[in-house]
């Protein structure tokens, strides 16, 4: 039981370090066990964005917390992949630069699984391989399937 937990933890912690570094242009982050109680205590997240001191996730800004939380979610998915992912406005705290990085990550991950992503932000839409436009008239929703080439106009 203990061994399985440690193996899972080590794996996810490694993925987490790699993904955070990719999303933050070279920053570093760690998933830490509670030193006093490694087998039952909680998991802390400490991250060091580029040019800053290491800090716990609780002290970060909204956008920095989002990048760190998404790194954790994607680190889990790398270890135990699901066939598809559904993400509804995960980019709401992100600036345009971070949106580009997150959409790169989604684009790369979408080689192994389907991603269905709802977004209001242009920098995310343009990375998708296909777009569906939704509209509503007289209370009835409609969908327009738009190939990406069309959007590029």
């Amino acid at each position: 039981k203990k061994d399985i937990f440690m193996e899972t933890f080590e794996n996810i912690a490694m993925n987490f370090r790699r993904i955070f570094s990719q999303l933050s242009d070279g920053g570093s982050a760690d998933l830490l066990l509670d030193e006093d109680n490694p087998l039952e205590g909680g998991l802390m997240i400490k991250a060091k964005p580029v040019g800053k001191n290491p800090q716990y996730i609780e002290l970060m800004s909204g956008g920095e917390k989002t990048i760190t939380a998404l790194s954790f979610i994607f680190a889990i998915q790398r270890y135990q992949p699901a066939p598809f992912y559904i993400l509804d406005e995960i980019d709401m705290f992100l600036d345009d630069d971070n949106i580009r990085k997150v959409s790169e990550l989604i684009k790369n991950s979408s080689k192994e699984a389907q991603f269905i992503v709802v977004s209001l932000r242009e920098h995310l839409m343009t990375s998708a391989s296909q777009l569906f436009g939704v509209s509503i008239e007289e209370g009835v929703s409609k969908i327009v399937g738009v190939e990406l080439e069309e959007v590029a106009d």
Binding site: I73, A82, V118, Q130
Partner: protein, 164 residues
């Protein structure tokens, strides 16, 4: 395994649509209130979510199309999810798996697997063979990112425990 198509009939603000879901990265875009999150609710619904609240409805009957500005309210809501099982990830099932769920005005759900009536627990069993759960970490609903950010150290650990 992957999603090949999603069909909605009288589900929330949709009358009748059938959406092919391609491989790779699909973005759903559109103005506020147009029905984007309703599509996500439809997927959670057909996968067997048991709480109306998590589908942003007071009661299950709120999921039934209310007719919009001009039409008549429908008497039931129906969603069908088509899964491409050509890789036989779920060996006991055909190459194309059809999962159907409806709900009527009194809130009763009917599940069907490949056209034949079945139970919610059979659907959940089939889906878990392909690592699909109605409330897995692979589904982040609108606003949920705040919950994930504010997760406590123990909640994070519980996720790893579940996987181990």
């Amino acid at each position: 395994i992957k999603i090949s198509r999603l069909s909605l009939r009288n589900f929330k603000s949709f009358k009748r649509i059938s959406i092919p879901i391609p491989d790779g990265f699909t973005a759903i875009v559109g103005p506020n209130g147009s029905g984007k999150s309703n599509i996500i609710d439809a997927i959670c619904f057909v996968l067997g979510r048991s709480s109306a609240k998590s589908l942003r409805a007071e009661r299950f009957s709120d999921l039934i199309f209310n007719g919009g500005k001009k039409g008549k309210p429908a008497d039931k809501a129906e969603v069908t999810l088509y899964l491409d099982n050509s890789g036989m990830e779920i060996p006991s099932q055909p190459k194309e798996i059809k999962i159907y769920r409806s709900v009527d005005a009194s809130g009763n759900s009917i599940y069907k697997l490949n056209g034949k009536r079945t139970t919610r627990s059979e659907i959940l069993e089939i889906l878990s063979a392909a690592k699909i759960q109605p409330d897995g970490h692979n589904i982040i609903l609108q606003g949920d990112i705040t919950r994930i950010i504010e997760m406590s150290p123990l909640e994070r650990r519980a996720i790893i425990d579940e996987i181990a």
